[in-house]
Each structure stands twice: as structure tokens, then as C-alpha cells.
Point group: C2
Chain length 446, copies 2
């Protein structure tokens, strides 16, 4: 298929590592995937995962390499949010137009299948082999039992770092001069909980909804699994009045759930057991540049750009990296230096954009949802978008249901914000928000 | 002097490490300073230094521990900039009021003296002993020949990381969850050059000036040394039309200096030798948080906050860290957890402020000095400040000649910027910039 097959190492057998392995193997390269962890197909999953929401960009990347249908079988479409607001009956918010949905997949289930698919395609996996060091100019890597033990040396043509937000490969690049890097943690943590299926295997809540219990600066979400269960995630500040730090005893946690999530208490039998068994995890935005070293090493996915999970785009962005890389390989053939240069130039602004959008969604969810001005703005936007769907595409739709660049979605969102700032300045806007005057004003500003 | 003397390790024997050692030793603690480099008192200095500009904050920290006079003897006061602009005769700009000056000191000369002073006070130095790892909760450190060699373990009560922008101690803290970190390189590099003294030992240029050859997005500066020489620094973009990348041969470099710095060519005999002998260095802004770990480990100086050198405040900010730490030790006695908490809370916003101010000075120098609006603004500010010195303290003076917090200087500068934006909007401002109307306008906005 290609003139010059390469001997390629991929560090990390997660979702991005295994998909990249499938792509590159299909192109005719020899692929070895290293992972310090054991084969997840043989172990129970960790209990620190948020379910994945596959959307347009993810599907497109899977389709390109012929495994979309395989993966659809593992996923459940969610076409709406189910809002569990205290003092209100349950209500629903459609995500997009008819037929538009995000797809809930368990990370563990998907990762296992992807490794199967990669192995089936001829990829070699070396599990429980930790890479301690990388020689960037020579594309050599060194593995071993510990940092100070005897190391084994491997020689490759190209190394891809798909080893996540705390990438060892990037760590090596980071020690070079002129490497820009940032990691910013948010002050909210998360913990995985689980709603078991009914005795008959059915789901206890509506299965085609993304369930949200918004509570100001904290919230619970739930996404369905194929086995009838839901994977829940509690997002809660680490410190402060209502926080992980304050939930020290079973009695604390019980009172917390009874106060804020009474209907959840009823459906999770082992809530308190889960709560103290599962770890509390932190969330980080990680940015860096450059992403590549000559024609030898490249970072893909979270190792190049980790985002907070509030847009559900982490995996989708990583899969889109691979899709773009593949296009560039087709465009520039064996010129890996050019491929890597174009790859980082094209992807970096989009990675920055989805990082910003994801962080803004966090701020929005944690502080703005109680602000009456914000809610008024959302009402006006919704009304206008319904009347002029071609003139006002919500940022959420641009990110989730299109494959236009993230940077374009961010810019369009900024334009919409500027317009709405003017609209909210209109006298008496609270009263006349649904008037033709407001509609004309928006049209004039577009 | 204190009830509970500690066994303290300081990593790094640079300016901040040695001054901190002097402070802590005088308080009665046992101090060992580790440095991976050899004792600089026995070697020739590296040729990658920018001369230091000691200003108010630095002097205050030296005075507190009784070594101000010692250090004054090594320094030359500069009360003005000497501007070498192409096509104009040399002209001077006073820094501040009568008697206000910054003080030029060679980094090597000062560092050697500080180590002498620390040793004299009873501090132990362990040179050429590299710290490879630190156990934060136990305040243990591990040194050795190489990362993989046998390591020696040391046990301390407290460890201070004064090991600079690429700190090994911070590196260890950085691997913990919820540690915020960023490093941002600018696209300009620098190279040290040297103007030798006249045969009679006198200076070839005015000795009480900070010499600047501004050339748009690059520049040369020169600061005097006691021996009659000047340490020069060429700041130049790494890439682009006029850049380090384009100066590959002696002929390239000769043409560059003849075109842009003809009067410098005449005074540096070995200009081209220096140019190719000395390294080209990068400049980084580094921010992180937290700076401390329990009551065990703290970062001080560049290891906690590295700034680009365009405000001449890197060392001054590090010395001010020590001054503040010392005040907190006096306030909270043996409660090191409290000392460290208060230290990072007080210093972090000020470190961020001087980072921002330093970066802005870089942008100003590299892109704004040719902008006529900017020059007009500076003219108006200067006139107003001369008439109302108590109402308009320039940011430079707040940073350099006061000891008020950096964050206050930044905020005051932002207020001045807002006012000047309004002033520059006045019709016909180019013509009436020195009118009473403009003066009244500024007064009304203050």
C-alpha cells in the first residue's frame, strides 16, 4: 500500500493509541503498542471513568477505517438531556435536530474492542512494559521494571506518544528548550458511581437521555450502558462548603445525597459503598507546543492536549487528530517531517479552541446556570435559533454535530456572545425578550 | 536565637540560594547548600549571563541581613538610559527622581561574594553533588553521579528549592495531582557579548548609564562592570528576517553589526569571536502553584516564578521572597506549615504581576517603540507626571524604586492605561497633547 513501510512504536494502548495503531497498520506499517498497564481485556476496569460521548468527529474517524458499525453496536444514542431539577418535575432538552444524538459508550468496553480490532489487524501489543525514556532524535525507547533497573532498548523509525495527559513521551520533549507547556487543574473533582439495572435487565432511568442533576457549583450526571446500568459521575468541589473534603463519614455522604439527590439515593443500592471505594479524581487542562520532533516523534490525543470533560469532546478530539494525520499521510506520502509539521500546525489552534470551550462549559455549569441574565440570554438565543436555524447555529451543535474546525465554533460562539451582549442592553429586555424588535435587533447585528 | 533549630537543605547555590542560606543560618538553623555545578569561585563564568540590575527590593533584602554595604562595593549606579538610536545623537533618559538609580552588578562577581558571605556565616556547601530526587513528605533527598547510579540519601527537616527555572525540586512537586504549571518561551533569544575596558582601565562608554541600542524587534544593551568592561546582551528573534537563524557565518554577523550597530563594532574587538563562541539562550516565563509542600518543602525565587528579563526584576523578586519569608518566620515562629501557607499566598499574586509586567515590557520594546500613538502617549504621560508627580507615579518607578507589592504596580499601570486610552481619543490630540485641556482631562479621570 505504501512504498516505504516504517517500524512504528505507539506508547499507550488507550482509545487513541489503539485507533492510531489500526490506521497505521492498514497503511502497511509495522506497529508495536507499548503499555505499562496490564491488558485491560483481562482485568476489571478501574472505577474512575466518565462514560464517553461519541459524536460526529469520533464516528467520522472510525468510519474512515471501517469500524464504525462495530462500535455503534456498543453505544446507546442519547438525543436529549434529562434534567433532574429540585422542585421541578423531570424535563427534557433536545440536543439538536431530529436524528442528531451523542452516543454513550463505556470506556472499558470500547477500549477492549479497539484492542481486539487492532490485534485482528496485525498490531503487536506489549502490555506491562513501561517506557521510561525516549531518545527523540533516534526514535529509541527504553523500557524496564523501574526507573533504576536495567533497561531494554528498542529502535524505531517513528514513535507516537498516545500516553495521555501525563505522557512520558511529552515529558521528554518538555525538557528541551523552547517547549511551551501548561497544566491547569480545576478546583472540582469527580467520582464514579453506578446505577445498577432493574432485576429484568432494563434501565432504571430513561435510556436515551443524558441525565443531569444540576445543583449550582456541583452536579451529578448519568449515562447508560448496554447492560442496563448507568455510569454516574459526581462533580463536586474539592474544598468549600459543599465539597469532597466535607464528606468524610458515611453519615456525611448519606446526608449529602439525601439533601441534594434524593431520587438517586433510591436507585443506587451501594451508593455509599461506591462513594468510599472509588477514588476522587482531578481534572486538568494541558496544553503544549510543539507536538512533534523532526520526523521522529509525535504526540496524539490527550498527550498533546488534555481538556476538562464538560464538552464530552476529549476522545472525539483525539480521534480527529488521527483522521487529520491520515489525510496528511495521504497528501505527503513518505515526507514525515512535512506530515508532522502540517499536523501540529493544523491541530494546535483547534485543540486550544476545544480546551477553551470545555473550560467555559465548566464555568457555565458551575456558576452561570443560576444567573437570571444568563437564563434570559439562553431563552432569547433558543427562540431566535428556532426561527432562523440557518442564521444561528448553536456552538454545541457546531462542536458536536459537525466536523468544521473547533476554532471556527469558538469564533462563532464569540460573535454570538457579542451580539447577545448588545441585545441584553436593550431597555426592558426582560419583558420584551420574545418580541419582533429583539429578533430584528439580532438580525441587524449578524 | 530560635527555640527549635532545624536541619535545612537548600538546593541551588545561586543568588537566591546563598542569600536564603545567610538568612536562615543567622536565625540559628543548620544549613547545607547543594549544587550540581562546581564552586563558581574556582571557575570562569559561563558567558550566558545578563548583568543584574539591583534595585530597591534587592537592596532592602540585603540590608535586612547586614550585607548591603558589602554588595554596594561591587555595583555601579545607573541613573539613566543612554539611547543609541540610528540617525540621532546619543541621548539620555533619567530613570527616576534625583538620587534614584539601578545598580549594575556582574552575576558571577555577586554570586561568588554571596557564597563567601554564606560560608563565613557557617553555611556548608556541597558542590558538584546533584540532587536527583526528593521525597516531599519526608524531606529526604537523593544525590548521585547519574540518574541510574547508586544514590546517597539525606534526611532533613525542611528543603528549599532554589534551583532555578528548571528546578528539580519543583519537578517532583509537578508530578502530584492538582499542581498548576506553565512554561512559555518567547521567540526572542539572547547572546552575551563584551566591551573590554580602555587600555587605562576606564570604561569606553558612559559608566553610569544603561546603554540601549533599540532596533525595533531586536536590541542590544550594555551594563558596566567594575573592571572597566561592559557586559552586553543582544536580544534577537530566533527565526525571521533579522534573526539568529540568519546569522550563520562570520560574514553574516559582520554585515549585521555593521548595518545595525556600527558604533558597537568599533569598541568590541572580539565581537565576531564572542558571537560564535557564546551560546544563544532562550527566555521563559514559568508559573506554578502551590509553591510549598506541608511544612517540608518550599520553592523560592526562579524555581517558583521565572520571568523574562525585560524589567530587570528576576533577582529582586527572588530576594523579596526571602525578605517576606523572614518576616513570616518572625511572625509565626516554629509553625512552618503556616509560614509556608502565608508565604505562597502573599507572594503568588506578586510573582504573577511581575511576570506580566516583564512580558509587557518585552512586547513594548519589541513592537511598540516605533508606534507614533505609543510615543505620543508616553510624551503626554511624562509631561503630566512632571507637573503632578504625586498623582502619576510611573509603573517603572513603582516596580523599581518602591517596595509596594508588584500587584499594586500592575493594577496602577492598568488604571493609567485606561485613562490614556480615553485621552488619546480626544479630537486633535496630536496637536494639543501638551495643552491644559489634556491635563484637566487626565485630572478628571484620575
Amino acid at each position: 500500500m505504501i512504498q516505504n513501510p516504517k517500524n512504528i512504536a505507539i506508547i499507550g494502548s488507550g482509545l487513541v493509541g489503539s485507533l492510531l495503531a489500526i490506521y497505521l497498520k492498514k497503511l502497511g506499517h509495522t506497529i508495536t503498542v507499548f503499555d505499562r498497564r496490564p491488558d485491560i481485556r483481562n482485568i476489571t476496569f478501574s472505577g474512575r471513568s466518565i462514560n464517553l460521548a461519541m459524536s460526529n468527529r469520533g464516528w467520522k474517524a472510525l468510519r474512515e477505517v471501517g469500524i464504525e458499525d462495530e462500535v455503534r453496536n456498543l453505544a446507546i444514542p442519547l438525543d436529549k438531556r434529562a434534567m433532574h431539577v429540585i422542585g421541578k418535575p423531570l424535563y427534557f432538552q433536545k440536543y439538536g435536530k431530529e436524528g442528531e444524538a451523542i452516543w454513550s459508550i463505556s470506556r472499558g468496553v470500547l477500549n477492549k474492542r479497539m484492542i481486539d480490532l487492532a490485534e485482528g489487524a496485525g498490531v503487536t501489543f506489549r502490555f506491562e512494559e513501561k517506557v521510561w525514556d525516549v531518545s527523540l532524535p533516534e526514535a529509541k525507547l527504553y523500557t524496564g521494571q523501574s526507573e533504576k533497573s536495567e533497561w531494554k532498548e528498542y529502535d524505531y523509525d517513528i514513535i507516537f506518544g498516545c500516553d495521555g495527559a501525563f505522557s512520558r513521551v511529552r515529558h521528554k520533549m518538555q525538557r528541551r528548550s523552547r517547549f511551551d507547556y501548561s497544566q491547569d487543574f480545576i478546583d472540582v473533582g469527580y467520582k464514579e458511581l453506578s446505577i445498577p439495572p432493574n432485576p429484568d435487565g432494563s434501565h432504571k432511568l430513561d435510556k436515551h437521555s443524558f441525565h443531569i442533576w444540576p445543583r449550582g457549583n456541583f452536579m451529578l450526571i448519568a449515562m447508560p450502558n448496554l447492560d442496563g446500568s448507568f455510569t454516574c459521575t459526581l462533580f463536586l468541589p474539592f474544598e468549600g462548603e459543599v465539597s469532597f473534603e466535607r464528606l468524610k463519614t458515611e453519615a456525611d455522604a448519606k446526608a449529602f445525597f439525601e439533601t441534594y439527590f434524593p431520587n438517586v439515593m433510591q436507585v443506587i443500592d451501594d451508593l455509599l459503598v461506591d462513594f468510599f471505594k472509588n477514588p476522587t479524581s482531578a481534572m486538568v487542562t494541558m496544553k503544549c507546543y510543539p507536538w512533534t520532533y523532526w520526523n521522529k516523534v509525535a504526540l496524539v490525543g490527550d498527550s498533546a492536549h488534555a481538556v476538562v470533560p464538560f464538552y464530552g469532546q476529549g476522545m472525539n478530539a483525539g480521534f480527529e487528530d488521527i483522521y487529520v494525520l491520515n489525510q496528511l499521510i495521504h497528501a505527503y506520502g513518505d515526507d514525515w517531517e512535512r506530515i508532522f509539521q502540517e499536523y501540529q500546525k493544523e491541530r494546535k489552534p483547534n485543540a486550544d479552541a476545544i480546551a477553551e470551550l470545555s473550560y467555559r462549559n465548566f464555568v457555565e455549569m458551575s456558576s452561570k446556570t443560576a444567573d437570571p441574565r444568563f437564563l434570559l440570554q439562553k431563552k432569547i438565543e433558543k427562540r431566535f435559533a428556532a426561527k432562523h436555524p440557518e442564521k444561528w447555529i448553536p456552538v454545541y451543535s457546531r462542536v458536536t454535530f459537525s466536523d468544521r474546525p473547533y476554532a471556527e465554533a469558538l469564533a462563532a460562539g464569540d460573535t454570538q456572545e457579542r451580539i447577545m451582549r448588545e441585545v441584553l442592553k436593550m431597555p426592558d429586555i426582560e419583558r420584551k425578550w420574545d418580541s419582533e424588535e429583539v429578533e430584528r435587533k439580532i438580525l441587524s447585528l449578524l
